[in-house]
Amino acid sequence: MNLQAYIEERLAERKVLLMTHLIAGFPSLEANWRMLEIMAEAEVDLVELQMPFSEPIADGPTFARANQQALESGLTLDQYFDLMQRATAAFAFPHLMMGYYNTAFRLGHGPFCRRLAACGACGFILPDLPVEEYGDLWAAGAECGQTPILLMTPTNTDQRLQQIGAQAKGFVYAVARKGVTGRQTDLDDELYRFIARCRAATDLPLGIGFGLRSGEDLRQLQGQAEIGIVGSVLLEVWEREGEAGYAALVRDLAAGRD
């Protein structure tokens, strides 16, 4: 699918889009299904489904623990792809694979992309794979309609942002601050300056991730970015308040789009 066109279409109806995140197998595949149903009820715009990895260096404590527990409970790649397939068949939003490069490396670039395509996914986000290491993964992705989503960060030089922008497709995942997943982000001038630097490096839609926690945060992004990306807080609320609290949060986030 053409992700960029999809995003632009959706933006005709709302001021900012919502992409939500979940980790396959945490706390269980059954819970994952409920999360997806809740996301679908709230008409979330995009979903990233994380494949757990034993060495999640880009993840903070909440996600790192979730990666570990999912693997300890026995999650396999087959189960991951099965969940992806069932999800894409049942829910309308586009699904992106999120994970670490070793998963793609071990499978092989071609088989990795073909398997994602066969499951109905539309792309992948690999935060530990820099652009100069993609090699034939660009071509493998293009051959079966899998869009690689690249990340830009505030510590990147303008020159590096240009380099990333030159390769990016679909949208750019702009990491709103330093550190790993799970820390809070202030929506302040510094963020807006960073967004401006990203804009100078790409014409693609921008998704702002890392640390968004509420519908109010989404509302503040309106007019600044095209997509708000929410992860850690969802997991925290599922663990603390269960399904009802989770559903309320997803509804609140979704309402922040208008």
């Binding site: 990895f53 570990q68 790649l77 935060p127 530990d128 030089t157």
Partner: protein
């Protein structure tokens, strides 16, 4: 291009054959680029190596001697066995070479804080020492399992002013301490340098660590030429992440007649799956984790497996991309020694030579003892003794089931 030259001036930056690279989140890109630049400038500055040698001479007893193990050589009845005595370094292991070197880089960068991972605690102690000396803040990440088995080193790190953070994620060993260090760094890089302790991780770390640790190999080569008048037939080193092995081997890499043997942790035996080998017996497979591409001990889907070794410093999933490359092209042979062989070798060296090696280092000795008997007395082998064993007193006493020590511990616990 010689092999050594290829390691320091590889056309594909940060690669050694197919291995190496820098697979890191974009947030760390600029910091790694800066570090690469500072390192490149330093090593092209002719006074830098002299400054490094001066620090090591006055602060860490370099050059460390080589010792002929006369009794052991006679008992085994094969080649003459020489030991490179990295155990005589300040803080008791080769780790200090890399740490003091990176300390000089920290000065050039003007950063005020250092962080490090540690397994056995030797690298953590060395880093805490360097931080104290240079007036830097210091945080050490250490797997909770290792905090337990290397208590003496935890005590010293704290006395030296470092904060020691136990890491409970994953298998709570060295690999998890590395993950936690990378997470800290992804936030703190503006004023913090990550002193990675082995020849692993994203470029430029393998190269930086190899650059400083080659002091072991260069000294050894000269010392053998001076005292024996010839090069060794074989050189043995233990391989955890691979820093002492790479450092020792670099002294002999371009001497084609010198056979280089790395010894990994065979744990309870490679066939049991309970070990920390990657290259030996090809039990590892190529993968990408913790910022670099190398052979990892992983399952078919690329999840890292649990490692086991009696030696905390070898209890690790990956291995230096430099060694992965040298093993692949056949320049380095990789073997494994089991926990049991290591305990036996340790006892033997204590009784025959009065030298207490670290459990890590003793893997090299155990690997050598298996082979040296088949050699002849006119041949020479060199074994890297990367560290001393005092830190292992609890583990070794357990392994030897020493009753007096157990009674002492029980009494002490009862009194406090």
């Amino acid at each position: 291009m010689g092999l050594t030259d290829a390691i320091f001036n590889h056309p594909r930056l940060g690669y050694y054959g197919e291995y190496g690279g820098a697979f890191i989140p974009e947030i760390l890109r600029t910091t790694l680029d800066e570090l690469t630049q500072v390192f490149e400038d330093a090593r092209r500055d002719s006074s830098f190596w002299t400054e490094f040698e001066q620090v090591m001479r006055t602060y860490s007893c370099r050059p460390t001697p080589i010792t002929l193990l006369e009794n052991l050589s006679r008992e085994v009845g094969g080649a003459q066995i020489y030991l490179k005595r990295e155990d005589l370094n300040h803080t008791g292991a080769h780790k200090v070479n890399n740490v003091m070197g990176q300390g000089l880089l920290v000065r050039r960068m003007g950063k005020s804080r250092v962080i490090a991972e540690t397994g056995a605690g030797q690298h953590g102690v060395a880093t805490a020492t360097m931080a104290a000396r240079l007036g830097l803040e210091c945080t050490i990440y250490m797997g909770a399992v290792d905090v337990e088995r290397q208590r003496p080193n935890v005590f010293w790190m704290e006395q030296l002013g470092a904060e020691v953070v136990p890491v409970t994620d994953g298998s709570a060993t060295l690999k998890d301490a590395i993950n936690e260090s990378l997470r800290d760094w992804a936030y703190s890089m503006a004023d913090t340098h990550y002193v990675l302790g082995t020849a692993c991780g994203p470029h430029p770390f393998p190269q930086i660590v190899a650059y400083f640790q080659r002091i072991i190999g260069e000294e050894s080569r000269q010392q053998l030429l001076d005292s024996v008048g010839r090069l060794p037939d074989r050189v043995y080193a233990c391989v955890g992440g691979g820093s002492n092995a790479t450092g020792l081997f670099l002294g002999f890499l371009d001497d084609a007649a010198v056979e280089l043997v790395g010894v990994e942790a065979g744990g309870r035996g490679l066939e049991t799956g309970d070990h920390a080998s990657r290259l030996a017996g090809l039990v590892g497979t190529p993968g990408v984790a913790q910022g670099y591409k190398t052979f990892f001990f992983q399952d078919a889907e690329g999840q890292m497996r649990h490692t086991h070794s009696v030696a905390a410093g070898l209890d690790y999933i990956g291995v230096s991309p430099i060694l992965a490359h040298l093993a692949e092209i056949g320049r380095v042979r990789i073997e494994a020694a089991t926990d049991q062989e290591v305990i036996e070798a340790l006892k033997r060296m204590m009784r025959s030579e009065g030298i207490i090696g670290a459990l890590e280092s003793t893997h090299a000795l155990a690997g050598a003892l298996r082979e040296v008997g088949a050699m002849t007395p006119d041949q020479v082998v060199l074994i890297g003794l990367s560290g001393r064993g005092d830190k292992d007193i609890f583990t070794i006493a357990d392994a030897l089931a020493d009753e007096n020590w157990q009674r002492f511990l029980a009494d002490k616990a009862a009194r406090s």
